[in-house]
């Protein structure tokens, strides 16, 4: 390179100094608005239409779950009749005596028609909302709690505790959680309720949350600011709570939002398979879809309407999860 004979002498060029001068080295320039991970994420979320669509849909679903009576006064389960048998019923439904109500199409007051058992489809969908939502929320809270506790323990203590907990995670991970739930639910034929089904789903889906949190804790624990805090004299436990966990939690939030959608799907799938919530006590979209499959050719709407309700709910949570992921994970934003 330089030691060889120069080919020529290059001209010495000097640019004019910019009008503003060079400025101070490393001058502090902060914009008017503060920024950190959460503030930035919130700003990012606010600017996305997908976030607002999913947020509005979810808010609506929550409202329906809490106040089904606002939308329908038809009871979902009682008053189901297969056909009109007397005057009173004829008047109530506006149909002549002898009409089959089972799988009947929409009539005034019953906008989505009737199921095979003669129940109001719309009312069942409205009342089924709280079931799906409760299971989703309970499972998500349960999974997040177990995942955070186990993952944080493993990542924080390391060594044999880590190995033990992670091997335990491997074992639970090795059983597809719906299969596990099928077995559990088969053993609980008589005492099935929302808590049992939530436990059955959640008890086998914590390993992925635990793994993610563990690897985040391991990553954050090695960052300089954690070492600095310890060197300042902060105890290990306090370092964990003030610095490590808050900086590790974002991926758990992402996976939990999508996981909520997964839990709703799982409940519906179990109900569909016939090991979900008892049909006579709980409205469940999965049950209704399952019950409607024999009418697929004759009355497809009895299957399609609850399917749409289910899919929209799941879609809303998945969309929320996606936008939250984009907002919280800079790497995901880069792949947009």
């Amino acid at each position: 390179m330089s030691s060889k004979n120069p080919v020529r002498t290059a001209p010495h060029f000097v640019a004019e100094v910019d009008e503003g001068g060079l400025g101070a080295v490393d001058a502090v320039r902060v914009s008017d608005r503060k920024s950190n991970l959460w503030l930035d994420a919130w700003r990012d979320l606010r600017s996305r239409w997908m976030f607002w669509v999913s947020a509005v849909v979810i808010a609506f679903i929550v409202f329906v779950a809490f106040f089904p009576g606002v939308f329908t006064d038809v009871p979902p389960n009682s008053n189901c009749i297969l056909s009109i048998q007397n005057e009173q019923q004829a008047e109530e439904f506006g149909l002549p005596i002898g009409t089959r109500v089972s799988d009947h199409g929409p009539i005034p007051g019953h906008p989505l028609g009737f199921t095979k058992q003669g129940c109001d489809v719309f009312s069942r969908i409205v009342h089924g909302t709280s079931t799906s939502l409760s299971v989703g929320v309970i499972v998500t809270v349960l999974v997040a709690f177990m995942g955070i506790v186990i993952g944080a323990f493993a990542g924080y203590f390391g060594g044999w505790i880590d190995s033990l907990l992670m091997r335990l995670g491997d074992i639970f991970f090795a059983i597809p959680y719906i299969l596990a739930a099928v077995v559990i639910m088969s053993m609980f034929l008589h005492d099935r309720n929302i808590w049992v089904i939530s436990l059955a789903i959640g008890f086998f889906s914590w390993p992925s949350t635990a793994r993610i949190l563990r690897s985040e804790v391991l990553r954050v624990r090695n960052l300089d600011y954690v070492m600095a805090s310890e060197a300042i004299g902060l105890s290990k436990v306090r370092t964990m709570f003030t610095h490590v966990l808050p900086n590790s939690i974002a991926p758990v939030i992402i996976i939990s939002t999508v996981g909520l959608a997964g839990a709703i799907t799982a409940e519906a799938t179990l109900s569909f398979l016939g090991v979900g919530l008892p049909n006579n006590l709980f409205m469940s979209w999965g049950n209704d879809i399952s019950a409607a499959q024999t009418s697929l050719r004759t009355a497809p709407f009895t299957l399609i309407y609850p399917s749409i309700a289910l899919s929209i709910t799941v879609l809303a949570f998945i969309m929320l999860g996606e936008t939250v992921r984009d907002a919280l994970d800079p790497k995901a934003r880069a792949t947009r």
Partner: protein, 309 residues
């Protein structure tokens, strides 16, 4: 590499015992007589109870019961259903069909999924990319049984392109629709994962270097971009397989495919708990083995993994 294989196989041992033990516990550690619980609403005959009590070695302490049961499973004795059919025979009869269905589904999911993901990732933000993202979002939001019914209703009943349910002998042509349904779910994930990892790989210095050293795009994309992007897709196959098992149960049930999933589906509907437990145990064992196989494949695909740690 040898150590990697040995270590991975050794890691599989506790997982194998652990997972079978957990299933066993779920069945037998519940309060009450587990055999009576299994019958649910039915009133079993004393012979049935005696047979099951013997099958599950109820006279033994809990832990030895587990090992005796596991011994039976490993020797290939999976017990009988309520109706007295041998679960072994059922599995032998149904397994080939499920294998064909799963194979078809995995092929569809990988070929279409990787291809779509690659195109999306390379043309990030284009029309194809946005359309793909939207379609996968919709598919992911549909539980598999909804997807199955929609497909059955549209393609089987309305359009009549496929037979809505599978005929006797399960010919390949009848398996296409259920395979598409089964593939659909994972396909959406494969597309998204491939897309994301193609975008990420593309930003790597070695891709820039590959162009810098004079390679053509036709060489860089398959050899450097796609090859490396396949690593996360492969690792995720394990999780895909879990979805596939559950998906097969539902899909085979809906399309009446004479496979293992359909047997499980029917067993669940009949509340045939002994059969459910047997089939789930087998599926979990298969799942554990597939997981190990995929991890070994991962070691082949990524040389770094064989050495470190």
């Amino acid at each position: 590499m040898i150590w990697y294989i040995v270590r991975r196989l050794l890691q599989g041992i506790p997982v194998f015992f652990g997972s079978t033990f957990i299933i066993f516990t779920m069945v037998f550690a519940m309060p009450g007589n587990p055999v009576l619980r299994m019958f649910g609403d039915r009133t079993p005959s004393p012979q049935q109870i005696a047979a099951l009590e013997e099958k599950f070695h109820l006279d033994q302490p809990f832990l030895s019961r587990y090992f005796l049961y596991l011994g039976d499973v490993l020797q290939g004795d999976l017990g009988t259903t309520y109706a007295g059919q041998s679960v072994n025979e059922i599995l032998a009869r149904t397994f080939p069909t499920t294998l064909r269905l799963a194979l078809l589904a995995v092929l569809i999911q990988l070929i279409i999924g990787v291809l779509a993901g690659l195109i999306s990732g390379l043309r990030k933000g284009g029309i194809f990319d946005n359309a793909t993202l939207l379609i996968t979002l919709v598919i992911i939001s549909m539980p598999v049984f909804v997807f199955a019914f929609v497909a059955q209703w549209i393609f089987g009943i309305n359009l009549g392109w496929f037979r809505p349910t599978v005929g006797a002998g399960a010919p390949w042509s009848d398996l296409i629709l259920p395979a598409i349904v089964l593939a659909g779910l994972n396909m959406a994930y494969v597309v998204r994962l491939t897309r994301a990892s193609v975008i990420e790989t593309n930003q790597n210095d070695f891709v820039r270097m590959a162009y810098g050293k004079g390679l053509s795009r036709g060489r860089v994309i398959p050899v450097h971009v796609l090859r490396n992007s396949m690593i996360p897709v492969t690792t995720n196959l394990a999780a895909d397989f879990g979805i596939l098992i559950v998906g097969a149960t539902v899909t085979e049930g809906i399309f009446n495919v004479p496979g293992v999933g359909n047997e499980l589906f029917k067993a669940i509907n009949r509340h045939d708990t002994p059969e459910i437990v047997s089939i789930v145990t087998i599926l979990v064992i298969v799942y554990v083995l597939v997981n190990i196989a995929i991890d070994l494949l991962y070691g082949v695909l990524d040389p770094r993994i064989r050495y470190v740690k």
